[in-house]
């Protein structure tokens, strides 16, 4: 049999705690509607979610792990972006 492959979709779920949608896995489905149904069955059997996004896996653009240093290291030296960098006398109270 010459079977075509069924597209892959990434699944994002917003839990009942009101958090942002969070990646939780993937499903195979012929179209978006079936992907949503499959995601519901596979990832929310115990009330794990109130909202689902599905995105074709091929549409995800990811950063290159070998560029991790170039992309993220520069922020390590910018300690003045954190509140603890600034000294406020204790007498001022909480700030």
């Amino acid at each position: 049999m010459t079977e075509k492959t069924t597209p892959l979709w990434e699944v994002f779920i917003r839990s009942r705690t009101g958090m942002a949608h969070r990646h939780c896995g993937s499903v195979h489905a012929a179209d978006a509607e079936m992907a949503l149904q499959a995601a519901r069955d596979v990832y929310t059997r115990r009330g794990e979610g109130l909202s689902i996004w599905v995105v074709p896996s091929a549409e995800i653009i990811a950063s290159d792990p070998s560029e991790k240093g170039m992309l993220f290291e520069p922020t390590a030296s910018k300690i003045y972006r954190h509140p603890t960098f600034y000294e406020i006398p204790e007498d001022v109270g909480n700030m």
Partner: protein
């Protein structure tokens, strides 16, 4: 465990890899960093994981068959709903795991083909028949119990997608074991005949459950490397001992006898010592010659073939709708 056949020695040797990269990779593992799909990894690490995760997935899928066999014959609506939910969970576990394996570059179609052609392995435990309703309880208690022992340390596996899939699976397993034990407890308390059915189920499932942990450490060839890569955290024998220690008192609570005359409590070590597993039976079942191997494979093949028209129709429908949308867009411009 669900991946017992990994313990067989591999014959092929792969090309040597850059020593510096290997050292950097091992340093990440030693620092308990998670390895993610796009990160560099040794070819052997990738290959071991593809085999382990896919065998685990196949085991979940084939594992639906012995229990599915009893859904229409469950004695009450409550038990039927529980069994249906459990079998559905096992299907879900298979899907989480296939997704995790696919992040390593293997396709779902390839994995399915490996299972259906008989080239891929799955846990030996699912090649035993479910003869009575008590077997459904014994599977929940013993088989899911053994799976939990194995899967909890896998939540800390060095490969991110596998560890995350295991966390989801472990959250769901507890219900599987408890419904099985509760069912057996109810049977043991109701009549002598029913209790005898439970004893018979234990007699048949005890040794195959111990085999789930794989060969003994002296014969397991992959253990050391998997431990170094933190894919595995405990050896087969360590996990088997944990399982026996946890399960023997549970059997006694039910008023049952473990079918092993060598079983004894060693006060000094605090562990239950037990007799020798029939390793010939283990090898036979792994090699494809257990009581139900052929039946299980043909059930999966039949399901796959009978579902082909649905997959084809769904894709054809999706293509038709996409084409119509494209045509409507052109017309509108």
């Amino acid at each position: 465990m669900y991946t017992q056949a990994l313990n067989a020695r591999e014959t092929e040797t792969s090309a040597p890899e850059d020593a510096e990269r290997l050292a950097a990779f091992q340093a990440r593992i030693d620092a308990e960093e998670k390895i993610e799909p796009n990160d560099w990894m040794p070819a052997a690490y990738r290959k071991t994981l593809v085999r382990q995760i896919s065998q685990h997935a196949h085991s979940e899928i084939v594992g639906m068959l012995p229990e599915g066999n009893w859904i229409t014959r469950a004695p009450t609506l409550k038990r039927k709903a529980a069994l249906l939910a459990k079998v559905q969970d096992e299907g879900g576990h298979g899907l989480y795991l296939y997704s995790a394996a696919e992040t390593l570059g293997v396709s779902r179609e390839e994995l399915t083909e490996q299972l259906l052609s008989g080239r891929a392995k799955y846990s030996s435990i699912f090649n035993y028949p479910t003869l009575t309703w008590a077997d459904i309880g014994a599977i929940g208690w013993l088989v899911d119990g053994a799976a939990i022992m194995n899967q909890i340390p896998l939540c800390r596996c060095s490969f991110g997608p596998y560890a995350r899939a295991m966390i989801r699976v472990c959250k769901e397993e507890s219900f599987h074991q408890r419904q099985g034990y509760e069912l057996l407890l109810e049977m043991c308390r109701s009549s002598e005949e029913q209790k005898a059915m439970v004893q018979d189920a234990l007699d048949r499932w005890w040794w195959p459950s111990l085999m789930m942990f794989g060969p003994s450490d002296t014969h397991s060839t992959h253990s050391a490397q998997s431990m170094a890569w933190k894919i595995k955290r405990f050896t087969n024998d360590e996990l088997r001992q944990k399982f026996v220690d946890a399960t023997v008192p549970q059997a006694h609570f039910l008023g049952l006898t473990i079918p092993d005359d060598k079983l004894a409590f060693d006060a000094e070590s605090g562990h239950w010592t037990f007799g020798e597993i029939d390793w010939d039976e283990f090898s036979r079942v792994i090699a494809g010659d257990g009581p139900c191997n052929r039946e299980r494979l043909s059930a999966r093949q039949k399901a796959h073939e009978a579902g082909a028209w649905v997959r084809e129709a769904a894709l054809a429908h999706a293509e038709k709708r996409a084409a119509r949308r494209a045509a409507a867009q052109v017309a509108a411009e």
